[in-house]
Amino acid sequence: MDYALQVKDLSKVFGQQQALQQVTFHVKRGEIFGFLGPSGSGKTTTVKILTGQLLPTAGDVTILGKNASKMNGSDLGRIGILTDNSGLYERMTINDNLKFYAKLYNAPAGRVEEVLQLVGLAEEKKKPVKKLSKGMKQRVLLARAVLHKPDVLFLDEPTSALDPGNVQKMHDLLRDLNREGTTIFLTTHNMEEAAQLCDRVAFLHEGQIREMDEPKLLQRKYAKNTIHLELKDGSNETIINDAGGAERLYQYMQAEEVLAVHSDQPTLGDIFIEVTGRELA
């Protein structure tokens, strides 16, 4: 199997604090992998270790077949990064910023205009970065991270500062990029985003992976065997999905009392709470 990322028994300790504990996972080439966890669970720490910005306390971290802490210039040219410590040149325009990074990454000249269109900033490209809103800066940073169509793209909460319209635009951009072969590693505490975008997700809680699979399979695995009925008299009834339940449902339907039937498909957020006993946000 061709892996973009291989992480084995990764641990990270800051002083007294165990930020990551025996984290093991693999990301296949071409996958969109979501790393979900509440604040402080270790998402950013993981991204920093995967990109070689932080050394692990223990464990093996391999990116594109290479030890993450031993990447050279050309390895770095194959990855794209957007984290909370990504910055832009404030006095320079959006266009000058992107042109600079395009040259640094040896991306074709026309690519700047292309990504500006993709993130919806083509009109504003002559504005100096210091005059931009937070969401606009976030979009410039994303544009920069994808300028060179990296083999692996790391996104640490890429949509946290964006409005729904732009989130949608961003997701389209990421899907297109993914279709062209970019592997995406994304952290978020937005469950809906993860369910929409990710091929697989891992739940991180207190530095440990508690669950990991395709969103669909997780939903199946944690589906409760129940069905909710809304009745015409305004009451609700929960029935078990078995012969006894079928009998009850039959009776209600016979009596024409059923207003609505809901299956019990849990959201990723529900599953997260069930697995970790904690709310995600």
Partner: protein, 236 residues
């Protein structure tokens, strides 16, 4: 080293400096001093003043501006982006210093034109110019890298500016004591002594030891700046 990446960094630096009023102001400072000093003294005294004002350029433009530029890259997290890009540490250092060297040279040229000193031993002057530019760039880079933010850089760079800017003067006042003895080994005193000797037309043998010391300082400075910057790609 990759010329395309270095030139990309230089062009970026140019776009950024254009809008950086603070830095542009620093460049004018030595010119004021030059005007002041150009009205005083004659002969050897004039050479001394010229070298002193030039040293001022090296300290206040080259070193100070470099510390601010590096510190700003750090504070705004653009340094981390550079370090995580395909650019090598050397390319970043060269690209980040180039515009500063241009500014320094312009500032020195203005000083020279105002003070109108006859240049002799140009070969030696060039060598000492290159060495001192590199050592002051290195010190500026180091201070910018070790301080946490721009404000801290402004504080940390002060003693260096004072020490290096006024070392030749301090040395005159404390010529006999331990302080004078220590300051004698500061790169700025070596720079000053070599430049003055060269301009006065003295023999190479009278300052070759100084030149060796300055070279040593420069090598140490460059290595330290390189190692520090390389370590910065690890954010912990």
């Amino acid at each position: 080293m990759n010329a395309a990446r270095i030139s990309a960094i230089i062009v970026k630096e140019y776009h950024d400096l254009k809008a950086n009023v603070q830095v542009l102001m620093m460049v004018i400072l030595p010119a004021f001093l030059a005007v002041l000093y150009s009205r005083m003294g004659s002969g050897d005294e004039r050479i001394y003043s010229f070298v002193f004002v030039s040293l001022f350029s090296l300290v206040f433009v080259t070193m100070y501006v470099q510390s601010m530029l590096i510190s700003e890259e750090k504070e705004k997290n653009t340094l981390q982006s550079l370090l995580m890009s395909p650019a090598h540490t050397t390319e970043i250092l060269v690209g980040k210093s180039f515009m500063n060297v241009v500014i320094t040279l312009v500032s020195l040229l203005i000083t020279w034109m105002i003070m109108d000193v006859k240049l002799t031993n140009i070969g030696v002057l060039l060598v000492v110019l290159i060495l001192s530019i590199v050592i002051f760039l290195s010190i500026g880079t180091i201070v910018g890298l070790i301080s946490k933010n721009l404000i801290q850089t402004g504080v940390y760079i002060m003693p260096f500016m004072f020490l290096f800017g006024f070392a030749p003067m301090i040395q005159v006042y404390f010529s006999d004591g331990i302080i004078g003895e220590i300051i004698r080994y500061s790169p700025s005193v070596f720079t000053m002594d070599i430049a003055v000797s060269a301009l006065e037309g003295q023999d190479f043998s009278s300052y070759q030891a100084d030149l060796l010391w300055l070279t040593g300082w420069t090598i140490i400075g460059v290595l330290a700046a390189y190692v520090l910057l390389k370590k910065k790609s690890l954010s912990n």
